[in-house]
Each structure stands twice: as C-alpha cells, then as structure tokens.
Symmetry: C2
Amino acid sequence: MASDTTIPVGYSMTGGDGPDSYYRNSIFQRAVMEDAMKMVNEGIQETLEFIDPNSLSIADFGCSVGPNTFIAMQHIIEAVGLKYDPSLEFQVFFNDHVNNDFNTLFRNIPFPPQVIFSAGVPGHFHTRVFPKASLHIGYSSYALQWLSRNPDGAADPNSPAWNKDSIYCSGHSPQVVKAYSAQFQRDLEQFLNARAQEIVGGGLLIFTVPGVPDGALCSQNYHGFCYDILGACLLDMVKEGLVSQEKVEAFNIPMYYTPVKELESFLGKNGDFRLERIYAIQSDTLEDLQRRINIEPTIPIVASSATSAVRAFMEEAIKKHVGEEIVDSVFERFTKKFSQNYCQLAEKQTLTNISVILKRKP
Amino acid sequence: MASDTTIPVGYSMTGGDGPDSYYRNSIFQRAVMEDAMKMVNEGIQETLEFIDPNSLSIADFGCSVGPNTFIAMQHIIEAVGLKYDPSLEFQVFFNDHVNNDFNTLFRNIPFPPQVIFSAGVPGHFHTRVFPKASLHIGYSSYALQWLSRNPDGAADPNSPAWNKDSIYCSGHSPQVVKAYSAQFQRDLEQFLNARAQEIVGGGLLIFTVPGVPDGALCSQNYHGFCYDILGACLLDMVKEGLVSQEKVEAFNIPMYYTPVKELESFLGKNGDFRLERIYAIQSDTLEDLQRRINIEPTIPIVASSATSAVRAFMEEAIKKHVGEEIVDSVFERFTKKFSQNYCQLAEKQTLTNISVILKRKP
C-alpha cells in the first residue's frame, strides 16, 4: 500500500533570479494579475472605506519573490491614492512561507524607500501572521489554489478518493474532486478567519485564484494539459524503472481549481466578510500571452518556456515527494512530450481566473 | 595621493550560519546586550507609557541575522508584558541593510508564530523605514557606532584629519577624532530625526553603543587592541608587496566609540526625545566573557575565537576596500599576531558600553 504522502504546508517557488527561478518564469501569473487588476482597481475605488489612518497597510499573502507582487502592490497603491490624501503613507507587507527567498525579493523592491515602506513577513497564511486589526487591505494572487495538505484519501488505495491514475485533480473522478474541494474549503475558511482578525472594519480582502467554469473539468484547460503531460512523464519513468510506482501513485499536486459558483457559495458562508465583487476572467490563449510578452509563438520556444514556467512552481514538490535526482530528467521529458502533444492544445479551454473583493464587516 | 575611499552606507555582517558567520560569532555583542538589558528592563517598566493599543510594535534597527536580536526582543517583550494586559499582541520588526541575510534571520526566529508576529524591514536606518507614528519601541544594539560614510578628510593626505597611521579612530590624533565625532553626530541626528517620525508620543527609543570613558582613547581598550593588530597585519602585507600602501592608508574603519559625556550632550540637543536614562556599563574582561560562554581561556582558543569575532563584522569592509583575495591571509596573520601580543591585553581597559533610554515627546 502506498503511504499517504501528506505534502506539508510551506513549499516555495524556485528562489533566486536565475534561468529556472520563479522570478524569471512567472509571466503567466503576471498576465493573470494584470487582467484582474483592471477590475480590482475599479472595485477598490468603489468599495474601500475607512477613517483617516496615518498610513495605509497592505499585505500580499503568498507573494513569492517578485516581480508580480511589486506590480500588484503598485496597482493597489495607485487605486487607493486616487481616493485619498496624496500625503498618505503606505506600508506594504510581503508574506510567504519562511522558505521563500526573501533576500531576492528585498533586493528587487522597486518602490521609493521613503515613500512606500516595505516589510517581509514569513509565515503560513492559513494562520495569523499579523496583529489584530493591523491591515487595511489584504491581497493574494495565485496562491490560495495551493492546499495546505493533500486531500483526505487521495493517496490511500483503500479510499474512494484514491487518485491513482492522475497526479492532480483532473476532474474525472467525482470522489477525488469532492476530497480536493473539501480541503480547499477548509483552507479557505482558515485563511478568511485569520484575515478577519487582521483586517480592520471597512478594509478589503482581494484575491485571484485559477478556477474552472461551472461544470468544466481542470483537465480541459491549459494547466490540466501540463499536469497530464507531467504525470505521463513520471509514468514513463516508472515503466523504465527509474521511479517507484508507489511514489508516483502517492504523489498528488496539492492544488485545486474551484468552479466559480462553488467559490461564491463558500464565500457566502463566511460571516466576517461581505462579498462585494466576483469576476470570472478568461485568460489569454497561450499564443496571445506569448505575443503580449514578445515571444514568437513557435513550438520549440513554447515547449521550453512552458517547461520553465511549470518547473518554477513544481520543482520543489517533485524533489520532495518523488526524488531530487530525477528532476532534470522529468523536465527534459516534459519539453519533448509537450512538443509532441502540442496539437491537442487547440482543443483546450483558456484558463478561467476568479477575482474576488471582500469587505470586512465593521 | 590616495583617493578618498568613502565607505558607503550598507554593508552587512557575514551572512549564513557557517563557522565564520556573524550568527556564530557575535557572543561578545550578546554579552553586552544581556548586561544592558538588566537595566533596560527596569527602564521600560518605569518609563514606557501609551494608551491601549491593539498591539505593541517594536523594531530592532541594525538587527543583523540573530541570535542576539531574538534575545533582545524577548527581553523587551517580557519587560512590557509585565506592565500590560497579557492578551496584548506584539509585532516585532527586524531592520537591517537590504544585503543583510534575512533568509537566515527568518529561519531562526524562535518566537511562537501566532503570538509574536515577526517582520523584516530592509533599509538604511539613517532614513525613514517605517510609516509615521507606527512604532511603540525602537531598539538598537551595537549598530549606531557604524558611520554611514568615512569622516571628512580621513583618507585625504591634504586634510588635517588624514588618518594615515591607523585604520580606525584610535584617539591619538585630535583632528581625526574631531572628524569621526562630527560624522557620528550627523548620523545620530539623522537616526533620531527618522525615529522621531516613526515612534508614537510616549514611546521609547532604546540603544546601546560601545563607547569610551570620558578622556580615554579607543586604543586603550580591547577593541582598539584588535584594530591595531589588524592594521599591523595590513602594514606587514604592504611591506611584503601584497597590498598597495595607498589602499591601506585610505582604509578607515567607519566606526566611532563616543565618550559618555559627548553622547549625552548630542542627545540633549534633540528636541523630539527626552533622555530618560543613560547607563555606562563596563563589560566583562575577555577572560570573564570566555568563562561565561564556557570557553577555557587558553591562548590558542582566545586568538582563534577573537579572529572569528573580528572577521564576522570586518570581512566585508576589507573585501570591499582592500581586496577580496587577501582576506584569508589577513586573518591568518591576525590570529598569529594576536597570540604574540596577548600579554599586552592585561594593560587594556575593559570596554565601556553606553545604553540609553529616550522617550518620544507627545
């Protein structure tokens, strides 16, 4: 029997700013954030309310190492600045796991140091990381889809939620989806409960997560396509005797793509925050995204940049739960298989991202 | 003519937690801090006053990588805790240059994460690093003696303040002392002006710096002894043709040991803070210190541990201003010369440390 490999809270994007770093390979997450920000700016203008603080404090939960967090914080500061006294001071808190590369983050902060005051806050955002009523705006982008642990039963052959044939929540097994969804809901509740204590009455909590249209499966979108390829690479390595079958069967990417209505229902159950806005945003197609970031959309480049992007956020999980020595080989295979299956991408849905603005009740 | 090598703001203690790190070689600074804390605790009890905050925020300016900062923050929290509601929450900010190794700092924070909330703040403490009126207690230990730049003329052969024969402010030349003192005063003023904006009325600013008794010279104490040895090693290397004479003549350790009365007079000129307490504390002799940290006081160990201690805070300055390639050789020579001159240590004064409690006027 495969052991239940619970992936613990606290693994980070690839640090530093080298070629495989999250810093250099998070352009997709950036595009998502920029799309969401158009709407979020408007939402901030219309919904934020609080009384005359000396300074306004904003926290990014799950900030990683940048540069996306800087761009997002800049957007929020500009949106708030339009509404308030121009002499208002800002304190921006960057929160992520203690293993996040804060040294790289700090060295790249682009803000004028005596106008926008920056701080790093190490710690798990499913728990309290700030004192009571100390924040005006909480923000999070592409972080809450990460679960704090593996869903119950996902790695247990005796459970109906055993996720034997896939390394992620593809959507094909209702029992697996149920287990992932339940864990997502528990984590979201913990996140909201912690933030409810930290954010002042009238303050905002804004977040973006990847999701699926109601009724759709994760395997139908571009991300699912990548996870399917990654899973297939690992299975090839099992067949070649390079990795044990048990390890791969027990490996589950602790990430959940919530349907829009489900998220709305979970948020409606929370007594501390009022749902002000919820936006379901279709992201660009891969080709559009590449054009936007000035990459010529030819297959070899697509495959290698897709590999770098997936590696930047999956490397640590694979090292930890499948094996450090196989990582390079897994991603070499990924590039090859991605190119071979490229034609299937046309059938895939663009990704749905969900952005939410919640207001802390007084 | 030797160029005026201005040592810029922002060089850090040796990072990581390896054998040469500041983390492992700051036991002296710890002993100083623990001595000061006995008095500081009492001072906090007697002087701190503010009204019912949700949480109390404390910042350590020039925290380095630990562990001393953790012990100091714990002392302050305990002293404050005795006076206030036990449910009071604390937010502790660790401030140091952006090149400080915050990753090591964060990984070693010993506080219970949901009781004492920690944050890192990169930036120069001679400028604002926090929003207006956002701190209740500012603290700094063994950091303000570092000057933000070389004193005017110290590296200029045409200046009366040219510090030709020494690499530090030994006290022998009144013109050199005057230049160092003036820079120290300017830096202290900048530090106080920045903190005056950040600390709430009734809040405290507590700091400890190494000093000299009124009328004494830095060369008469243990630190001066170490700097004289370091300077002699560099001069030996000049004679052997390993380092250029100009480089060594232009190298000045940007550190000033203020006399007690002088510091009191500088602080008296500040209009924002009231001087509540000033303590001049004689530190242990080297032998006492070694006994306290359970090192048998035999010469080889003394010399090697003295070398590690000096290297932990001087390595970066020497790399930058004399040369990276000579660092190992400098400190090998230091160990040898320290042992050879060990007998002179008995004539040296123990170090005077000055601890200060200032209260922000309302």
